[in-house]
Structures are given as C-alpha cells and as structure tokens.
C-alpha cells in the first residue's frame, strides 16, 4: 500500500494546545496530572486526571455553536483548525467532496449527556435540550467538523475503545492509498473528565488510586503500577498523498507506511496474557510497510499501567523483535498527561512524529522499577535519531492497532 504523508498537526491536551507548547512540555518530561477541579470528585476511588482548563483561549467558536456541542466536539474543532493551519491548507480552496474526516472516540460526549439526563429526571422531557440528540454520540465531532468546514467527502468515526483513533488513522490511510480522497483529517478526541464518565472509568477498574500523588500516579511498565489516569483532549493530523504534497510544495513531517490490526478474542476486559494477537498486528504493520523488525528505531507503547496489559505488550514485542527488543528504545509519554482513551493513539502518533522531527525520544515518567524485557527511556528525554517507528494502541478486551511511521529522507 502507498505511503501517506502527515503534513499538519493539531493537538489539544493537558500538556499544551498546539504542537509548539505541547512539545516543549513533553520533551521536558513535565507532568500535568492533577486533582480534578471541574466537579467534586473527592468521593470517587480515583479522582485525578489530565484536565484542560483553557480551551476557550484557543477557540474562535461562537457561543451559539458552543451551547449545542459537547466538550469533545469543541476539542476536535480546535485540533482540526490547528492541523489545517499547520499544513498551510486553506480549506475553502479545496474540493470539499474529496476531503474526508476519520476520527476515533471511545465513550461519547458525556458532560452534555449526563447534564441533560439529570434534567430529564428532574424537569421531565421538556427540560432536555433539543441538541442532546446531536451532541453526545461518538460521531458528533465528525459531524461538527464537517459542518464547520463544509467537508463532504467519505468520512467515518471508529469506536474501538482506546484503539479508536489509531484505527481511524489506519483506515484513513487505506482510503487515501486508493486515491478516493485528496486529503483526510484523521485522529480522535475524548472528554472523560465528567462525573458519569469518571464513574464508568472507575468501575472498569484500570485507574490508579494514588490520589495523594497525582504526578507519580501513572507509571506504565513499573512494578508498582496500579493503573492509568484518564485525560481529555484531541489529536488530529492532516493526511495527504505524496504527489499532492509535492505539488503543494509543503514539508511532510512523516509518512505512514504500515498498519496492522487484530483482536484477541479472549476476554471482555483483559487482553490475552501472551500478547499473541498484538504480535500478529505488529507483524502485519511491518509487513505492510515492507520493513524488517530490526529497522524499527523507536516504539511508542500503549502502557495502560495494569500488570496484565503491560506484560502482554512486552511479550508481544519480545516475540516479534526477539533479542533486538533489548536494543530498541521504547517509551510511554502519555504518563505525563494521562490516557486520552479513544484519542490516545492519535496523540501518541503526534508525539512520535515530533520525536522524529527533533531527534529526541520523550521519556516515560515514574518508571522507577521497570518490568523486565525492554529498553525503556525514562525520566529524561534522550537524543536519538529515529527513521522508522512503531506505535501501539490497544483497546479493552484486546483490540490491537499498530502503525508504522517513517521520517521523510
């Protein structure tokens, strides 16, 4: 399959909005995980998160639109605008029938939904906003981005738990490879820092309860890990075919050259402990990219910080890369700002692309006693030339999604 270029980056996270601010914080290894302040979360077993409090500063959206949409659509709209600006694309000049939107989301727009459900039970059906129907569901951001820009090409929202956005990007690459569209806005968004969504994440059981020390709570691949920390945000990239990038005379930040996806088919919640299907997804992605395992210079880890997940990920990497797995630098930078669930893979891709551009591997935080088997970059960023990298994103029950990216030569 053809390589597809990434020409624009739009990122909205607790670590920063816009790639410059985001990268400055990521390369410095700063934590942005804090006690939740949006509502009283003190009675939840886990009540820390990566929260965004200054989105309005970066948004040009009217109050009229904002009252109709959930925060996750707002984040997607800001990320899409940043990505288009970064790619130097004037969307009005595009053939909008040939522009697509491929986004991933896991849980929908719960801040809007739960507010309206509360009104339903208190005030009756007339208390519910008529925008509820179009605000909460996972494909709402795709719809809002398409309306905002007048985009009319083939588009799709992928719902596959935490693997959603990397899967959306993988799918978008397939569509672009077939020359069905000129360009795609690919990525994902998630806004789980709400009372009901936080409750669901708590009952899922994968959250760290280290509320007393938010900055050191999320510790993927550490022997003392007790779960991840949720975060909100969006990551969207502009994806285009190589000829179009050449014609537009703009730089490609990276090429997406391989994609693989499988399911464990094992358990409702947990992955298969041996990581066999993740290993198969990695092999599929490498084969799609036409490269050998030893050509990979960096692996961006999924890192849920739950023992069975982290160990299965290590097992999969060891099974594909063999003894070489001890040499390949790996890291899980989301330990700095939290797990964006359905948007996590897109943000991991963005971090990997920025790491390639700057020749610097961002670290995993809080990795004091690593699980055996991998060459973890921890504590501080490490200068390292990355030509080819692998990104792993996994969803509940063992949904495996793997992307290969390459640095343009």
């Amino acid at each position: 399959m053809n390589k597809i270029a990434i020409t624009g980056i739009g990122v909205v996270t607790p670590s920063g909005i816009g790639k410059r601010q985001f990268w400055a914080n990521i390369k410095a290894g700063r934590s942005f995980i804090k006690e939740i302040t949006r509502f009283d979360a003190s009675k939840y077993p886990a009540h820390i998160a990566g929260q965004i409090d200054d989105l309005e500063k970066y948004s040009n959206l009217s109050e009229r639109l904002l009252k109709k949409i959930d925060a996750f659509s707002h984040m997607a709209l800001v990320a899409a605008e940043l990505a288009l600006e970064d790619a130097k694309i004037d969307i009005k000049k595009e053939d909008l029938n040939l522009v697509g939107i491929f986004l991933g989301n896991a849980i929908g727009g719960w801040l809007y939904a739960e507010t309206e459900l509360r009104d339903l039970y208190i005030e009756g059906r007339e208390g519910v906003s008529p925008y509820m129907a179009s605000a909460w569901f996972p494909a709402a951001p795709q719809g809002q981005v398409s309306i905002y820009y007048g985009i009319k090409g083939f588009s799709k929202t992928v719902v596959a738990d935490r693997a959603s956005s990397l899967m959306a990007i993988g799918y978008a690459r397939t569509i672009l490879s077939k020359n069905k569209l000129n360009m795609i806005l690919g990525g994902g968004m998630e806004a789980p820092v709400t009372p009901y969504a936080l409750l669901c994440c708590n009952t899922y059981g994968a959250l760290s309860k280290n509320n007393a020390h938010p900055e050191s709570a999320y510790r993927p691949f550490d022997k003392k890990s007790d779960g991840c920390v949720i975060a909100e945000g969006a990551g969207i990239v502009v994806m285009e075919g190589l000829q179009r990038v050449k014609d537009r005379a703009v730089p490609a930040f990276a090429y997406i050259s391989g994609y693989g996806t499988t399911c464990d088919g094992f358990d409702r919640i947990n992955p298969a402990p041996g990581g066999e299907q993740l290993a198969r997804a990695i092999k599929m992605a490498l084969s799609d990219a036409g490269i050998k395992p030893e050509e990979i210079d960096y692996i961006s880890l999924d890192g849920l910080a739950v023992d069975v997940w982290d160990k299965a990920e290590i097992a999969a990497i060891k099974s594909v890369f063999g003894s070489h797995s001890k040499n390949i630098p790996v890291s899980c930078p989301k330990s700095m700002f939290g797990n964006l669930l359905g948007a996590s893979g897109a943000v991991d891709l963005i971090i990997t692309v920025l790491a390639m551009e700057h020749g610097l591997i961002p670290p995993t935080l809080n990795l004091d006693e690593p699980l055996d088997g991998l060459n973890y970059i921890r504590g501080e960023a490490k200068p390292y030339k990355i030509n080819k990298a692998l990104i792993i994103s996994r969803g509940r029950g063992g949904i495996n999604s793997v992307l290969v990216v390459e640095k343009p030569q």
Partner: protein, 78 residues
C-alpha cells in the same frame, strides 16, 4: 413590555445573536440561519415565556418575528 420586544429578547438570549441581527419582517432561517433544532428550543422557550401552548406548525423557522408576534398575540387574547 410589548410582546414583540419580549420575543426579540428571548431570541437574543436563547440563540446568542446580536439584537441588530434580528429583522422583524425576515424569516428566522434567512435572517439568522435558524435550523429546525433551534426552532424546537425557541418554541419551548416561547411557551414558557408566554404561558401558552404552541404547535410546531404555528411557528417554524420560516416564520418572521412579526408572524410569531401575531400568533402569540392571538393566543394571549384567548
């Protein structure tokens, strides 16, 4: 306060538009791009404001402010 002023105030508050954007004799769809969902919200708010029942057929996004005023006036008169 006269009915039309109350209708306009309600639209400004509800739809987050500027008062000068509202034209009495232009329909709401053409003048400020009101869509069908916004119209449902407007209908519910008008019912609350004037303590009356309105059917979606009586007031649509193609109604002008003058049209709405007439409907409300007739309801209040009853």
């Amino acid at each position: 306060m006269e009915t039309k002023t109350r209708i306009k105030d309600l639209l400004v508050k509800l739809l987050k538009v500027k008062p000068e954007e509202l034209k009495d004799d232009l329909n709401l769809s053409d003048s400020i791009g009101v869509d069908s969902t916004e119209m449902v919200e407007t209908l519910i708010a008008l019912e609350k404001e004037f303590g009356t029942k309105l059917s979606p057929k009586e007031i649509t996004k193609f109604s002008t402010i003058n049209d709405i005023d007439k409907v409300i006036q007739s309801k209040i008169a009853k």
